[in-house]
């Protein structure tokens, strides 16, 4: 059935969803001890107001600032635009509504993107060899 939402179901967003879910699950597992031994992460769906994911951490019986802070740090990633969390004391759950940013492409993708083109260029390696041993590798030196 089609979703009634603003969001677009693209491959990039699917990847972001998987990554976010995996990250949060890992962190929640590390906090699953004592009172919170049964903590679970559940995917509730996609928010209507944008591209993202809604995740619920269930069976939270003990909540402290360090746990919340860790969750926030995990969700502070480049592909995540912003997020909001809601603590439901009635159901002992925390609901995270996470919104993803747009897929980066072209020149603005990453600041170190220029390196990939340069590193794959064989001329770079030739230049390095010339500098290392110009007598052997520099073609003009032989003449």
């Amino acid at each position: 059935m089609p979703l009634l939402s603003v969001s677009e179901d693209s491959a990039y967003h699917q990847q972001c969803k998987k990554r976010t879910y995996a990250n949060l699950t890992d962190v929640v597992q590390s906090f699953s001890y004592g009172e919170n031994a049964d903590m679970l992460v559940l995917e509730l769906g996609t928010p209507t107001s944008g591209d993202g994911i809604i995740l619920e951490v269930q069976n939270v019986f003990q909540l402290n600032e360090s746990m919340l802070q860790t969750f926030r740090i995990v969700l502070d990633l480049p592909h995540i635009d912003h997020f909001s969390n809601e603590i439901n004391f009635d159901n002992n759950s925390i609901v995270f509504t996470i919104y993803f940013g747009k897929a980066e492409s072209g020149k603005n993708a990453k600041c170190y993107n220029w390196a990939t083109t340069v590193l794959w260029n064989p001329l770079l390696y030739f230049a390095v060899l010339c500098l290392w041993n110009p007598e052997r590798y520099f073609p003009l030196a032989q003449w």
Binding site: L3, L4, V6, L44, G45, T46, P47, T48, N91, T97
Partner: protein, 238 residues
């Protein structure tokens, strides 16, 4: 909800009084006044008359009592209206679709000074609303007739408003003869007032019911001459 305050409607309501025999077991009723207990009893009795095997638990707060009903297989808008008018103290009703429960909020007698709540902007502007609904309708172009597009638009706008900034609902629109059948899945929770806004669109929105087992909200939209011939869809005054 407190685990010690779960009651069966059948065992509670049939008795002449709901005052507990051993107060330590039913501590949530201890601090309640007679009128408040009666309000709970009336609401529980009404729900029991609709669904026999319903269980309920209460949570007493200084300003309100929250009654949680579980074990309801389904609920219709008519049932909710009956529950709503059963007592004047009922402040709101919420259908927790995910948990399969109905929350009824009963106002307590002690009233605090009323502070007007500022209406928060939901961030849902008309253009976004229209664009999303139009995009959705384009996938149902073969189902929805040109003359019915306006009313289906209004229905979808209503559902989008309910779910805005929450989990998106899956909506299925099928044509059944002259009418349309809607199925809404993946709803997290919906309020009675929100359901009423859908019914307020007109008499052509009918058979609204929520199945807690399948977690599907279903309703029909009848095809009438009223909205086709009228220049604008009019809101029904109740």
């Amino acid at each position: 909800m407190e685990p010690g305050t779960v009651f069966s409607t059948s065992s509670m309501v049939n008795k002449s009084s709901i005052v507990p025999v051993s107060p330590e077991k039913m501590h949530s009723f201890g601090g309640l006044e007679e009128e408040e207990r009666r309000a709970i009893q009336i609401v529980a009795k009404k729900v029991k008359s609709i669904h026999e095997g319903t269980m309920f638990s209460t949570k007493t707060l200084p300003s309100r009592v929250i009654i949680k009903f579980v074990g309801m297989p389904f609920v219709t808008i008519e049932d909710l209206r009956l529950i709503n008018i059963s007592n004047h103290r009922i402040r709101s009703m919420q259908l927790m679709v995910n948990q399969g429960s109905l929350l009824v909020e009963v106002r307590r007698k002690t009233q605090k000074p009323v502070i007007k709540k500022r209406l928060e902007s939901s961030g849902l502007d008309k253009a976004t609303l229209r664009n999303t609904v139009t995009k959705f309708l384009s996938s149902h172009a073969t189902v929805v007739r040109e003359s019915d597009k306006r009313v289906v638009n209004a229905v979808l706008e209503c559902i989008l408003r309910w779910t805005w900034k929450k989990a998106a609902a899956e909506v299925e629109c099928t044509r059944d003869g002259d009418n349309y059948k809607f199925k809404v899945e993946k709803l997290q929770c919906v309020r009675f007032r929100q359901l009423e806004t859908l019914c307020d669109l007109g008499d052509y929105v009918c058979d609204l019911s929520l199945n807690f087992n399948t977690r599907v909200l279903s309703f029909s939209v009848l095809r009438t001459n009223a909205y086709i011939q009228d220049g604008q869809a009019k809101r029904r005054k109740t």
